[in-house]
Amino acid sequence: MTATTTCGCPEGVAAMAPSRRALLAGASALGAAGATLALAGPAEAMTRLTFADAGYTGDTLVVLSFRGGIDGLSVVAPVGDPSYYTARPSIAIPQSRGLKLDARFALHPALAPLLPLYTSGKLAVVHAVGQPNPTRSHFTDMDEMERAAPGSSLRTGWLDRMVGATATPGPFAGTTMGSTTAPRSFLGDLTADLAMRSVDSFTLSGAWDAAETTRWTTALRALHEGPADQVTTPARTALDALSTAATLQTAGYTPANGAVYPNGGLADALKDTARLVKAGVGLRAVSIDSGNWDMHTDLGSSTGGWMFSQLSEVGKALAAFMTDLGAAADRVTLVTMSEFGRRVTENGSGGVDHGYGNFSFVLGGGVNGGSVYGTWPGLAPDQTQAGDLKATTDYRSVLAEVLEKRCRLTASTVLPGAPTTRLGLLKQKA
C-alpha cells in the first residue's frame, strides 16, 4: 500500500504532476478540491483533470479475464484441422461460417466486429497458450494464473507486482472496473485495490456539496487512522479516489469517433476504462472480468446459442473500445486470459468439459496484429494432452512481452522465472 496520503494533499498522490499540484494548492482537503473542480464547467474540468502520469510512461495494460474457462476452439476455430470436426460433430464452426484468419484458423462468426482490427494489425491472436501445471480446476488454475509465479512462494498477484514496479502509483494505478472487489491478480501490499462497478456509481451518499464532502472525508479519514489493514486500506483508497471520480462525473462522458458500445457489463467496463485512459487519471493496470463461460452443456452453434450470444457482446464491446480510444489506443494494450480451455471432444450434453490449451487476444495500437502466433500442436488424439489441446506457449511469455515492450518494465521483476522466449507480438514502445 503506497497510495495512502501522509502529506494531506488532495488525492493522496504524493507525486502528482506539478501543474496539477499547483492547481489544487490552497485546497485544504480532498473533498473541497474535488467539489471545487466539480463545480467548474465540464470542459474546464476535463482540461484540468488531464495530467501527465509522471511516474509512468508505459501503456495502460488492460487484462480481460474470461472466467469459467472459455472454449478457445470455438473462439479461434482450427477449421483446417480435420480432427476438429471428428471431435465435435455438433458444435464445431463450419469452414463456410468461420471468418478466415489464415490457412488453419477462423474466427467465430459472432466476432465479426474484430475482423477489421485483425486485418488492420491492431489485433494479434496467440493459440495453444496455457500455464505450466494445469489442474483443470477453475479455482486452482485461476489462482495460479493470477499469482503467475509457479514454483515460488510468492503470494502476491502479478498485477500488484506490475504496478508495484512502477514509480509513485496513485489511487487509480491499479483499477478493477465493473466490480466492487478486486481479483487475485491485484492481491498484495504494493497496490491500492481500487475496484468500482462504474465511474458514475463511485459516490459517497450524504456528501451532497463541497462542504459536506469535506465534512465526511475528514471524519472518515480520522476514523480509519492507524496501521494499514484490510479495513483501513480500502477505506483510504476509496477516499483517495472520490474527488477524481466526482470530477469525471460532472464532466460526463460521450464515446468518441462514433463508437457504439453494446449493452452489458463488459461494454460498460470497457467504456469506463476508455474514459479513464483519456482523462489521464494515472491508470496503469486495469482488470475487467467477463463471466459465464463454463459451458458444460448446450454451447450452441455458429449461428446462435450460448457461445454465439456471449461472443457477440465481446466482439462489439472490444471493437467499440478501440474506436472510442482512437489515437489513445497507442497507449493501451489489452490482453485476454482464461484459466483453461476445454476438452477437444464435445460431451454428451452438447458442451465441453474442462481442458487445457487456449487462445489469447492481444489488442492495441502497439500490436503486430494480423497473425495467429504460436505453435499448433494438432488435435488428433495422439497430439493432445489427455484429450486436451496442448499448451505450446507459456502464457507468461505473452505477458512478459507486453511488460517489456509496452510497459517499459523488466519482466522478471513481475514474473519471476518466466520463459525468455518471445513471439514478436508487439512493437517496442518509442
Partner: protein
C-alpha cells in the same frame, strides 16, 4: 437438458434489460419487469428534518443506476441452457492480517459475549450480548444448536405470510407455472434468506445456513432452477445445517437443483458430464489436494450417472438406463457396480467421501476460517477434524468444540465483515422490524447487497463466496457499505417509509440526554458497537457536527436533531463496526 424446459424467469430477463428483450411479455412478466426496474433505483434520500438551520442544502437523490448485467446470474440466451458461470477467483491467502482490535470497555465476560455474538450471529445486538452474558456462552451455544427449541414467531409468521410459495414442492411449482416460468422461486428464496438473517432468533442456524449455501452452492435466482431452488434451500441446507454432513451431501446430490447446477442431470454412461463428478471431489468433499488424480474425475462422474431429473415434474429421478455399470473405485472406495439400478452405489460413494479424512480436514478448515480467523491455527483445525470424524460427520459437536476452544477465545478482531454481513448487521443494529410490505423492503436490501458485491446466493461459481478479508478489499465494497448505512439513516427518519418499522434514532441514546457531545457519541457507540470509540475517534465524530467532546449538549443541537442520521451512519462506518 433433454426437455424443452423454459429457460429463464421473466424477472431475471427484466433485470438484464433491453439487451435480452422478452418477446411479448405476459402480464406477470411486465409486473416482474416493473419490479426489477424499481429495484435498479436506489431509494431516494430523505431531506433533512425541518429543524435544519437555514441555508442547509437538501441532499440530491442519487441518480438511478442500472444493475450491471454482469451481476445478473446469467446471460441471455435463445434456447440454450448454460450452466453456471465462474466470476471471481477465490483469494485464500491474506497477505496482511487484520490487526486485532481488542474489545475495550468491558469485563472479560462481556468481551467474550461480544465476540460470540459477533461471530455466531449475523450481527451483535444488545439483546444477544445480554442473553449470552446472562445464560453463559456454552448454554447459549447449546440452545442455538437446538433451534427447534427456540420460538421464532416473527420469522415464522413472516415466511408464512410473505413467502407462501416456499412451502410448495417442486412438482407443484412446475405444475402451476410451466411453461411460462413467471414463478421463479429464486427471489422468494433470496428475500426469505435475508429476512431470516435479520430477524431470526435462531441465529447460529442462519449463520450455518449461509455457510452451507456457500459450500453446496446453488445460485439464485438463476432461471435454470426456477422450480426447485427453494426446495434445495429447505430440504437440503436448512434441514441438515446442524445435522450430519453425510446426510446433507447425499440430499444435495439427489436434488434437482444441484443436478441442474452441475449438469449431472444430462450425464450418461455414453457421454459422462464431468462437472459434478469433479466439483464433488474438489469443492464438496476431499478438496483439490485430497489425493485424487485426473482419471478419478471420470470415475467419479461415471459412478454418479443415473442421478437425474424427471422433466414433467422437475423432481429427482434415477435414470438407470444412463447408469454406467462395472467395477469402479477411487480414494479407498470401490464397488462391483453390476446393476444399472445403481443409486445405492452412488449413495455409498457419497457417504464414503463425507467420511473421508480429507473431507474432515477441509470442512474443519472452512469452519475455522468462518468463525475464527482467515488463517486459522492448525491445532484448531486438527481438533475439529477429529471431532467431525469421531461423531460420524455430525456438525453440532464440531461447533460445540469450536466455540469452546482457546483459539476461538483468543481470536477477537481477526475477522472482518463481508459486504452482506455489513448490510444485515446494520439492519440488526438499528432494530428494524417487519412492517406493511416487508418483502418489498427486502428487495431493496437485496439490491444494495448486489451493489456491494455480495447478494445472497448470487455467487455464480460452485465454490461459494470467499470468506477471507483479502477477497473483499476493493474500495468499492467499502464505499457501498458506507452508502448503505447512510441510506438506512435516511430511511429511519422518513415518515413515508411504511414497509418496515424503523425505531426512532433518538432511541439509540439514553432517555435523559447526555450532558456533552462526547458523552452522547460514547453512548451511541456503546449502543451500536457495544463499546465506546477511542478518544480520538470520538472527537472526530464530534467534529463532524462542528463541536468538541466537551461542548455541552442541548436538545436543539444538530447531533440529536437533523444530523442524527448522519452521525449514526458515521458510527456504523467505523472499522470497529466492520469487525466481526
Amino acid at each position: 437438458m433433454t426437455s424443452a424446459l423454459p429457460r429463464r424467469s421473466a424477472a431475471l430477463q427484466a433485470v438484464l434489460g433491453a439487451a435480452t428483450a422478452v418477446a411479448d411479455p405476459s402480464a406477470p412478466a411486465k409486473k416482474a419487469a416493473a419490479r426489477a426496474t424499481a429495484r435498479t433505483t436506489a431509494p431516494a434520500p430523505v431531506p433533512p428534518r425541518s429543524t435544519a438551520p437555514a441555508g442547509i442544502v437538501v441532499p440530491k437523490a442519487p441518480a438511478a443506476r442500472s444493475v450491471d448485467a454482469a451481476y445478473a446470474p446469467r446471460a441471455a440466451l435463445g434456447g440454450t441452457t448454460p450452466p453456471v458461470p465462474v466470476a471471481r477467483p477465490p483469494r485464500y491467502k491474506a497477505v496482511r492480517p487484520v490487526a486485532p482490535r481488542a474489545v475495550s470497555g468491558g469485563t472479560t465476560s462481556t468481551a467474550a459475549a461480544l465476540l460470540l455474538a459477533r461471530r455466531a450471529t449475523w450481527g451483535a445486538t444488545p439483546e444477544v450480548v445480554d442473553a449470552i452474558t446472562s445464560m453463559g456462552a456454552s448454554a447459549w451455544v447449546e440452545a442455538q444448536l437446538a433451534p427447534k427449541t427456540i420460538p421464532d414467531p416473527v420469522v415464522d409468521d413472516l415466511v408464512k405470510t410473505q413467502f407462501p410459495r416456499l412451502a410448495w414442492q417442486t412438482w407443484e411449482v412446475h405444475d402451476r407455472y410451466w411453461p411460462d416460468q413467471t414463478g421463479d422461486l429464486g427471489y422468494d428464496t433470496v428475500e426469505a434468506y435475508l429476512a431470516r438473517a435479520i430477524w431470526s432468533k435462531r441465529q447460529l442456524l442462519e449463520v450455518m445456513v449461509d455457510f452451507w449455501s456457500n459450500h453446496l452452492v446453488v445460485t439464485a435466482p438463476w432461471g435454470e432452477t426456477w422450480d426447485c431452488v427453494h426446495r434445495f434451500h429447505e430440504d437440503v441446507v436448512r434441514k441438515n445445517a446442524l445435522g450430519r454432513y453425510a446426510d446433507m451431501l447425499v440430499a444435495a446430490a439427489m436434488h434437482p437443483a444441484m443436478l441442474a447446477q452441475l449438469d449431472n442431470e444430462s450425464s450418461s454412461k455414453r457421454a459422462p458430464n464431468e462437472n459434478f463428478g469433479r466439483e464433488l471431489l474438489e469443492l464438496h468433499t476431499v478438496g483439490v489436494t485430497g489425493g485424487y488424480v485426473e482419471s478419478d474425475i471420470r470415475t467419479s462422474a461415471l459412478v454418479l450417472t443415473g442421478m437425474s431429473t424427471e422433466s414433467e415434474s422437475g423432481e429427482y429421478f434415477y435414470r438407470h438406463i444412463r447408469h454406467h455399470t462395472g467395477q469402479v473405485g477411487l480414494l479407498g472406495w470401490s464397488s462391483a457396480n453390476t446393476s444399472a439400478r445403481g443409486e445405492a452405489v452412488g449413495v455409498s460413494y457419497l457417504q464414503h467421501l463425507a467420511r473421508h479424512p480429507s473431507t474432515a480436514r477441509r470442512l474443519a478448515t472452512k469452519l475455522a476460517v468462518r468463525f475464527v480467523s482467515d488463517t486459522p491455527p492448525s491445532t484448531l483445525v486438527d481438533t475439529l477434524a477429529q471431532v467431525y470424524l469421531a461423531n460420524d460427520t455430525a456438525i453440532a459437536p464440531v461447533l460445540r468444540a469450536l466455540f469452546a476452544s482457546t483459539e476461538f477465545a483468543e481470536s477477537a478482531g481477526r475477522k472482518t465483515k463481508r459486504p452482506l454481513e455489513r448490510i444485515v448487521s446494520v439492519a440488526r443494529a438499528l432494530g428494524v422490524r417487519p412492517g406493511a410490505d416487508t418483502r418489498d423492503w427486502l428487495g431493496d436490501l437485496s439490491w444494495y447487497s448486489r451493489v456491494a458485491g455480495q447478494a445472497p446466493l448470487a455467487w455464480p461459481a460452485p465454490n461459494g463466496y470467499p470468506d477471507v478479508a483479502a477477497a473483499w478489499a476493493g474500495a468499492g465494497a467499502t464505499l457501498a457499505g458506507w452508502n448503505f448505512a447512510m441510506h438506512q439513516g435516511w430511511s429511519a427518519t422518513d415518515t413515508t417509509e411504511k414497509r418496515v418499522t424503523y425505531p426512532a434514532l433518538r432511541g439509540l441514546l439514553p432517555t435523559t440526554l447526555p450532558s456533552t457531545h462526547g458523552a452522547a457519541v460514547d453512548a451511541l457507540a456503546t449502543r451500536l458497537l457495544s463499546a465506546p470509540l477511542s478518544a480520538a475517534k470520538r472527537d472526530a465524530v464530534c467534529a463532524f457536527v462542528g463541536k468538541t467532546a466537551a461542548t455541552p449538549l442541548k436538545s436543539t443541537d444538530s447531533l440529536v436533531g437533523w444530523r442524527l442520521p448522519y452521525v449514526v451512519a458515521l458510527v456504523l462506518d467505523t472499522p470497529e463496526f466492520a469487525t466481526r
